[in-house]
Each structure stands twice: as C-alpha cells, then as structure tokens.
C-alpha cells in the first residue's frame, strides 16, 4: 500500500524561525492532508489540499503539492514553542471512492524558546 514518508524525521529550531517538513508518496491521490499530534494526544487535522491545487494557506501554515513529483511540503512560519508536536501527512487511496487515509511516520518538531 502507498504511504506518505515525511522528511526529516526530526527537526529542532528556535522560536521565530520557519519550519519546513516534506512528504513524499507513491501513487496518485485525490487529496493530501496534514495532521498535528501533541505528545500523548490524538491527531488534529491542519489542512487538506486537493490534487488540482498547488498551494494552500491557513494562518501561519502553507502547504504545497507537486503531483508530478508526488510530494508535498508543510511550512510553519514564525514558529512558537506551542508548535512543538509531531506532524503527519496522510494520503487517500486515489482513483476511486474510498474514505481511508494512509499516514506517514511523521516529523517530530521541537521549537526551542
């Protein structure tokens, strides 16, 4: 089965800096989603980008999608200590009506105050 692979596995930055995480996947998709998970908690949906979109913004988040390279990136601008969390990309199965997501292994972001 296809899987999103995040890169890097871990990232440590200073507060105020930007954080960029990348996701690669293997087969065609209908959409790609990003989720955040704070330690010990469930995942929280951040943003969904459809296969016909190239860029999407939500507050300090910017997501890009390059379907020709089968990759996506999540940019968090002006990071805060509260952004410390794991970030996961998730892809659907593509090609048909399915409501399943396949999650990557995540990027652990640490924002130092």
């Amino acid at each position: 089965s296809q899987q999103g692979e995040e890169d890097p596995q871990a990232l440590s930055i200073q507060e105020g800096e930007n954080a960029t995480m990348n996701c690669s996947y293997k087969t065609s998709i209908n959409n790609l989603q990003w989720y955040r998970q704070n330690s010990g908690r469930g995942l929280v949906h951040l943003i969904l980008i459809r296969s016909n979109e190239r860029e999407k913004h939500s507050g300090r988040l910017r997501v890009t999608l390059d379907t020709s390279k089968k990759s996506s990136s999540l940019l968090i601008t002006a990071s805060r200590a509260a952004d410390t969390a794991s970030y996961f990309c998730a892809t659907d199965a593509g090609g048909g009506a399915t409501n399943k997501l396949i999650f990557g292994t995540g990027t652990l972001l640490a924002v130092q105050p």
């Binding site: 959409n31 989603q33 469930g42 995942l43 998730a90 009506a97 409501n99 997501l101």
Partner: protein, 115 residues
C-alpha cells in the same frame, strides 16, 4: 476532540485475555476507524466501518475484530491479547459522502499494555 470518547484510556492486561476497546461519537458521522500507533510505524489502520454493521479490514487486522451495532459506537476486540498488541489505539471518525477521503477527527487514544 470533536465529540469522540474512548474507553478505557489506559489498560494493562495479561497475554491470552480478551480485551474490548470502545469508541463513542456524538457527531453522527458515518465512518469510524481504529488505528494503532507504534514508534517508527506511524498510524496503521486496523479496521474501519462505513455504517451500522458495515465494516472492513485495514492494513493490520489480524488478531482484531470489530463491531458496530449503533451509529455512535465502534468496538475493537482483541480476542486473545498478545504482547505485540501493546500499543496506543486511536479511534477516528469522518463524515464521508464526498467520494474521496475527507477530514478525520481523532479521539484521545487508549494506551494498552499486554504483559
């Protein structure tokens, strides 16, 4: 956590015993999912449901069964727990009906330890 509760939140059990985890939603969403999360593996889908009494297997379904007798409840049963099933289990829901995968909302998780 979007009207999703999981019970119990923590459980320690012995190898060979049956275990049932419960997911309850108040959102009336059609789809419900059970995932397990393990270090280095991310989230892996165990089973999911697309309606009352309608369920299907996910990526790692061996050793697990599910039931959904009401829209709001989705039960995950480990028929005979093994140490390899020690994990954090998450329930999720989604509205469905879009024809493609839509946003999922997650419960707080259940930490299961099998000794």
């Amino acid at each position: 956590d979007a009207g999703i509760t999981q019970s119990p939140r923590h459980k320690v059990t012995e190898t060979g015993t049956p275990v049932t985890l419960r997911c309850h939603q108040t959102e009336n969403h059609r789809y419900m999912y059970w995932y397990r999360q393990d270090p280095g593996h991310g989230l892996r889908l165990i089973h999911y449901s697309y309606g009352v009494k309608d369920t299907d297997k996910g990526e790692v379904s061996d050793g697990y069964s599910v039931s959904r007798s009401k829209t709001e409840d989705f039960l995950l049963t480990l028929e005979s727990a093994t140490s390899s099933q020690t994990s954090v289990y998450f329930c999720a829901i989604s509205e469905g009906g879009q024809g493609v995968a839509d946003t999922q909302y997650f419960g707080p998780g259940t930490r299961l330890t099998v000794l």
